[in-house]
């Protein structure tokens, strides 16, 4: 059964159940992906998935249920489950649906073609070929993946919202494995966009060079050092601690930024912007997961926390307007507050000047185990790291298997310099992070 048919059945069931406030959210994802190992096709996947979420307000509370089974019987069951869930809730904050008729910004989307299985295979073969000769230390254990995906979402509610969003997305991922004697290392590159416009050789060389640069890495000496996080590493930190900017988490006492709006929470060099229309991000959205308009906002300016991020319910509870940050990853994801592109605004120093400023310290390119070694509530982190020693203002020997420890919220206050270029390492369909390289006065490094 198609969504258009299911939507009518579910609406009829809702009316039959006496529900006046309800919403349907539909997601369809069709994707095809090929994976090659050393130039041979290892797997090919064609996936057709998605589903429907139904939400309704009963007694001021929002119940939800979702399904992948589009049938008449399931339409009735879905509505019944959502209403039953609403009646079970005890949350005090009142729930709302967005009203129709709002004005929405214009989301530009990069044009990406729908790739045929033949085009995917050809592209993956070309990437594999580029990997073979990209570096003198490259091995035959490299892999290439190419995917094409068509996404469709629709959001309709009983208050007149009727929105839809469609995108065609292509992406290339490669993993370069290099070796020197017994020692092996890997790194990857990933790009979203039309593969016809990508330089696979440059991507392969970049990944292989990064991997090779870490061969023979030692362990950083234990101590307190000035630390520079590369743009990529800083994005890892931002993504780990972004939940602290959710007004809903603040309300629940799960954010260290609770009650800090209007206060200084970072060094005066720090400005953070949340932008649904960030030009470098190929995925731009003009509305959020509840149907509220998406818009650009400064979250931190000059170190001062201007606003947390809100959805309709959190905004009402705080006596504010929504910031349009209700996010829904898929049909079965609960609505949660997330940024769009969360950008730590660049500073003024080139990377060389930043290294010069650092003098002696540690440059960190990679942070691992963020889901375990970082506590988004307290801000404490102790993370597996890899990068380079900085000696007399230059990156020197590679170092790995050490940890860097500190507290994210103290780190924001101890930023002393930022590079002049922000990178956006991984644009996904939803939340992305962008950051320049960032120098922090002092953090504890644990190595040998």
């Amino acid at each position: 059964m198609e969504f258009t048919e299911f939507k009518v059945l579910a609406a009829a069931e809702a009316q039959k159940a006496g529900l006046t406030d309800y919403e349907l959210y539909y997601v369809s994802e069709e994707s095809t992906e090929i994976s090659m190992f050393n130039g041979e096709t290892d797997s090919f996947t064609a996936s057709l998935t998605g589903g429907v979420a139904f939400r309704c307000i009963v007694g001021g509370r929002m119940g939800a249920a979702c399904t992948q089974e589009l049938s008449a019987a399931e339409a009735a069951a879905l509505v019944r489950r959502a209403a039953d869930n609403a009646r079970t809730l005890e949350k005090e904050e009142e729930a709302f649906f967005a009203a129709g008729g709002a004005a929405y910004g214009e989301a530009r989307r990069a044009e990406m073609p729908v790739l045929s299985p033949e085009a995917l295979t050809k592209t993956a073969a070309a990437v594999s070929e580029a990997l073979k000769t990209c570096h003198e230390k490259i091995t035959e254990r490299c892999s290439a993946e190419v995917m094409t995906q068509q996404l469709r979402t629709s959001l309709v509610n009983s208050r007149g919202v009727d929105l839809s969003w469609e995108a065609s997305v292509d992406g290339v991922y490669l993993s370069a494995v290099v070796a020197d004697g017994e020692e092996t290392n890997d790194d990857y590159d990933i790009k979203v966009g039309d593969p016809a416009e990508m330089d696979f050789r440059a991507m392969a060389s970049k990944a292989a060079s990064k991997a090779a640069a870490m061969l023979g890495a030692g362990v950083a000496p234990t101590g307190s050092w000035p630390v520079i996080f590369s743009g990529e590493a800083m994005c890892s930190l931002l993504s780990t601690f972004a939940s602290a900017f959710s007004a809903e988490n603040a309300r629940k006492g799960l954010s260290a930024l609770k009650g800090k709006e209007g206060e200084t929470v970072a060094s005066e060099l720090v400005t953070v912007v949340d932008d649904p229309f960030y030009p470098e991000n190929p995925f731009q959205r003009s509305f959020d997961g509840e149907g509220s308009p998406a818009f650009r906002k400064e979250v931190i300016s000059g170190g001062v926390l201007r606003t947390l991020l809100y959805d309709l319910s959190a905004a009402h509870a705080a006596g504010k307007q929504t910031t349009g940050n209700a996010s829904r990853l898929s049909y079965d994801s609960p609505v949660s507050i997330q940024p769009y592109t969360f950008l730590l605004a660049p500073g003024e120093l080139t990377e060389d000047a930043l290294l010069e400023e650092c003098g002696n310290g540690v440059w960190i390119d990679f942070l691992g185990g963020l889901h375990a070694g970082a506590n988004p509530i307290s801000g404490d982190f102790s993370l597996q790291s890899a990068g380079f020693m900085v000696e007399k203002g230059k990156k020197t020997r590679p170092v790995r298997s050490f940890t860097v420890s500190g507290n994210f919220f103290q780190l924001l206050k101890s930023i002393v310099a930022l590079s002049d270029k922000a990178v956006l390492p991984r644009a996904s369909g939803f939340t992305a992070f962008a950051s320049p390289a960032v120098m922090v006065k002092e953090l504890t490094v644990s190595g040998k």
Binding site: T41, S43, S47, Q68, E90, K91, V177, G368, G406
Partner: protein
Amino acid sequence: MIERELCAKVLEAAVSTGADYAELFAENSKNHTVNMVSGKVDAINDAVVSGAAVRVYKGLSSVMATTVDRSEEGLIRCAKKAAAALGNGKAALSVVLRDRMYANIHPVLVVPSSVPNAEKVDILRRACEAAAGYDRRIRQVTGTFLDVDQNILIASTDGVYASDRRVRTRLSVTALAEAKDGGTQTGSCSPGRRMGMELFEKEVDPEATGREAARQAVVMAEAGYCPAGVMPVAIGNGFGGVIFHEACGHSLEASSVAFGLSQFTGKLGEKIAGEKVTAYDDGTIPNAWGSLNFDDEGTPTRRSMLIEKGVLKSYMIDKFNARRMGLPPTGSSRRESFDYTPTSRMTNTFIGEGPDENEDIIASIDEGLYAAAMGGGSVNPTTGEFNFAVREGYLVRKGKICEPVRGASLVGKGSEVIMNIDMVGKDLLLAEGMCGASSGSIPTCVGQPMIRVSSITVGGR
């Protein structure tokens, strides 16, 4: 869920272009969670997962097509899509399906998906209230009641036609305590089993779950920061086994071994760990969180000895990677749902009992760390570099457990660290976790008795 005759038709369509293996995996699951914040039901997630996947192999190539349309037409269309992507050969297999009646070694008494919300809320409330009332320093408590009712069917050209109903239930409590420096520290406890509502009569006391989360938060609230450096570490039983899961387990999965991407490729029969280390992957433990009757390719689960007295004995292998490796599958193929391509994963993976007493392990450490409870971690199997977090740690001085310390993580290279396991205790315990990898997020158990790692990098400050 799908009649045998229709399964056979789907598989015939799947092998029509020359596949040498085809498999249909169909699923209809109910996933339900109730979240509680500050003693109130805050959110309920309620999802029906429904769809099917057809996989075909030819030599070392595999194709998977998935669909949410489980009608005859939808399934045949899906099978044809997979067949078309494989090539344009001729059918070379005849499909004969035989009903398999695997023993149900994980019986469930009361299926939670049929139980009203109110009963789940009651259990959750008991746990959260116990945590909130544990100590005046507890500032916030959140809890989750999770239940999954997964109905699956597997039919394959090697003759499997089998279905299973996999039920699992988990209670999870996180407590926040106000730390002495004004920040917050968290503690958590998340027991789960492949069981139904009887879990709370037989194995898990909701109040004790809440109190344990609160106890851990309060201990950590009093703790100073862990010092940084290389030192001997005693790691407690239960979730401490995450060290083996990250440092070694992932690197024994065929998904990396088959491609030569694991540090343990080609090391069968060689000594890879300390000689007191004997380790298992056992998917047959009755009602354990990571257990299954049979894996996601229809191979019965088993108890595999991975390492015997330090010597590598076995990998964890799925049907597809078995071809590349020239070794038989081990009942290790797993996927989060029909929408993920299955691959070799762990079930319940643990270090078995050793010869040492816990007191002797602690007494052997002059200056080091006792990691009483661990958090999660991750690993890059290619380099073997791993990390994991210490949830509850104590300094050890002159063989005595001293003050608690917080914020520690342990990092190292798997192949080196498991060689450094030089003492193994007797108090084997399993603990539940979720493991994420390419085939999705799946329930697994980790486990061990107390062990000693003679030297490892401790990240503190």
